[in-house]
């Protein structure tokens, strides 16, 4: 038996969420007294591959060929499932990223495995019981799900587990995967990545604006504050519905659920649907002129005041803090 971790990369580089997933998978391997094997797909340089061992993988399988250069959901699922079979892995871990969410269900079917998506904590493994805590009701609750099949697939939510250095052998080994022609029906036409921006699901700090900002022309200060903090920008549903900001920035029950270390809500009153999407944030800061706004019920820190006065002061304060740090 072993644990298999799929180490997702973006243009040949591993992200923090991948290292979190490796650390998480290492902990499961320790818990169940078994090895951790990683699988990396696509062009990844050795210096990156070596990092996988640093966080605890005993072995690193690599697959790279022209067909697998870009992410193809079906083919990647085949590769990961065939690696799991070859390594007799009964637990497969991946990141609950956009791609991970496409892969996990397909791998689950291939391995006849129960799938725990949206995992937020290490599984409990006592006797033959295997339970995982996962998000449910769009952030309004958690469910403890028992996976009853011999094989299991777990997708870990970014920012919910620590990156832990735990050097292991990390022996790199080429793996020839079984794929079939029908795995390559979907053709990637174009990939657009805005590299100068922090991606919202991965962000450790999120600066989010609501209707209180009155219009898209006032987002300059939100972006400036986000840039200074190395944060991603986000918004509430009315803002994306009005077309002030793209849908990809909408945080809430029917948008993206985020779990950053710091979530700064500016001019957001805090409708129940919005609060659902931010409930996993470690620290919430609210800036709103209405002291009765529901956002203050969930916030750890708050300023009651006009965003147009408070945000410029915050920007100045962050600049000063950065200059002195």
């Amino acid at each position: 038996m072993s644990v298999l971790i799929y180490t997702e990369n973006a243009e040949g580089k591993f992200k923090k969420s991948t290292f979190e997933a490796i650390s998480y998978a290492r902990a499961i391997a320790d818990q169940t007294n078994t090895n951790l094997v990683a699988i990396s797909i696509g062009d990844v340089a050795d210096d990156q591959l070596n990092l996988i061992g640093k966080y605890g993988a005993d072995k690193v399988l690599t697959v790279s060929n022209a067909q697998l250069k870009n992410f193809v959901n079906q083919a990647y699922a085949s590769v990961i499932a065939s690696a799991a079979k070859k390594e007799s892995a009964d637990v497969v871990v991946l990141s609950n990223s956009f791609s991970g969410r496409g892969l996990a269900p397909r791998i689950g079917v291939k391995l006849e495995a129960g799938v725990a998506d949206g995992a937020v904590a290490l599984p409990e493994t006592t006797g033959d019981k295997f339970t995982v805590k996962k998000t449910a009701f769009s952030g309004k609750a958690f469910a403890t799900v028992q996976l009853t099949s011999p094989n299991k697939v777990i997708a870990l939510v970014p920012n919910s587990y620590h990156v832990i250095e735990k050097p292991a052998a990390g022996i790199i080994e080429a793996f020839s995967a079984e794929t079939k022609e029908s795995d390559f029906k979907a053709m990637v036409k174009e990939i657009v990545r805005s590299t100068d921006k922090v991606s919202l699901p991965d962000a450790e700090i999120v600066v989010s604006g609501g209707r209180g900002l009155k219009g898209p022309e006032n987002w300059g200060m939100i972006e400036e504050l986000a840039d200074l903090l190395g944060a991603a920008t986000a918004c509430s549903k009315p803002v994306s519905d009005a077309g002030w900001r793209p849908h990809s920035e909408h945080v809430g029950q029917t948008g993206i659920a985020v779990s950053p270390n710091l979530y700064i809500a500016i001019g957001i009153s805090g409708a129940i649907q919005h609060l659902a999407g931010i409930s996993s944030s470690k620290v919430i800061v609210a800036i709103n002129k209405d002291p009765e706004a529901p956002i203050f019920k969930v916030a750890d820190y708050g300023i009651v005041g006009d965003a147009f006065e408070v945000v410029p002061q915050l920007i100045a304060a962050v600049k000063e803090y950065k200059a002195s740090a």
Partner: protein
């Protein structure tokens, strides 16, 4: 073009979530159930794509008789007919398996789901269905266009997007951006009553997951307020006390 839209019956977005029986059951008492908002987006796009005699839209739901108001809502929005697989939707695997059995008998060009249901948020049915039918699946799409016998989709990736061309048949999970949700009009509501709703019995399968219990997020402490003219104090607290910057 024949499109199948998989729909689920979920608690309204304003629902306060509580549990009963020692936190093992979701408390449905007083809860209003709705058509899953992402499924509504998928359905709206399916209707747009087939308008003007270009095809048909079937909605399918795995659920007991109590989901029929939601199915009728989908018919009122504009689906041509509906199928209900008569079973409690145990988990994503159960639902995907049942739908795959139906599709194997009744093929479709395009199968749409929502990106996730807002109750269990698994994002799993689309991928499982794709695997069970051995066809491509895309988990979270922001745009969907059709040209002849293939589709072009825009998929969300961290910090960007990916554009894919995929030949029929395939499965895709719709997110915001794919379409504006359609609101049923009076004619739609009237005709929904007489549109076909076929009830199919479920196939037996072995489950591979069970929800044992639920919990709600730990309550947060009292908010610490900082005066509006003391922004630097807030930054200080975030640095020294919360240690997040």
């Amino acid at each position: 073009m024949k499109i199948l839209v998989c729909i689920s019956n979920v608690p309204d977005t304003t629902t306060k979530i509580t549990f009963t029986d020692n936190n093992t059951q979701f408390n449905t008492n007083g809860v209003q159930f709705i058509l899953n908002p992402y499924d509504e987006i998928a359905l709206s796009r399916a209707i747009e794509l087939t308008e003007g005699g270009k095809g048909s839209v079937t909605v399918i739901n795995v659920g007991e008789a109590n989901t029929e108001p939601t199915i009728r809502k989908a018919l009122a929005i504009g689906a041509d007919d509906a199928v209900r697989i008569n079973a409690k939707p145990h988990d994503a695997w159960f639902v995907a398996y049942q739908i795959s059995q139906y599709v194997k008998q009744n093929p479709f060009d395009l199968i749409l789901t929502g990106r996730e249901s807002i109750d269990y948020n698994g994002s799993k049915v689309a991928g499982m269905l794709g695997e069970l039918l051995d066809i491509p699946s895309v988990s979270i799409i922001k745009k969907l266009d059709v040209d002849g016998d293939k589709g072009t989709v825009e998929r969300e990736i961290e910090g960007g997007k990916e554009v894919l061309a995929i030949p029929f048949p395939f499965v895709a999970g719709a997110a915001e951006g794919v379409a504006e949700p359609k609101i049923p009009n009076m004619r739609g509501i009237m005709s929904a009553r007489t549109k076909p709703l076929n009830v199919v019995e479920a196939a037996e399968i072995k489950n591979n997951s069970e929800i044992l219990s639920y919990e709600t997020p730990a309550p947060r402490g009292q908010v610490k307020l900082v005066a509006a003219n003391e922004a630097e104090k807030l930054i200080g607290l975030l640095h020294t006390e919360a240690k997040v910057i």
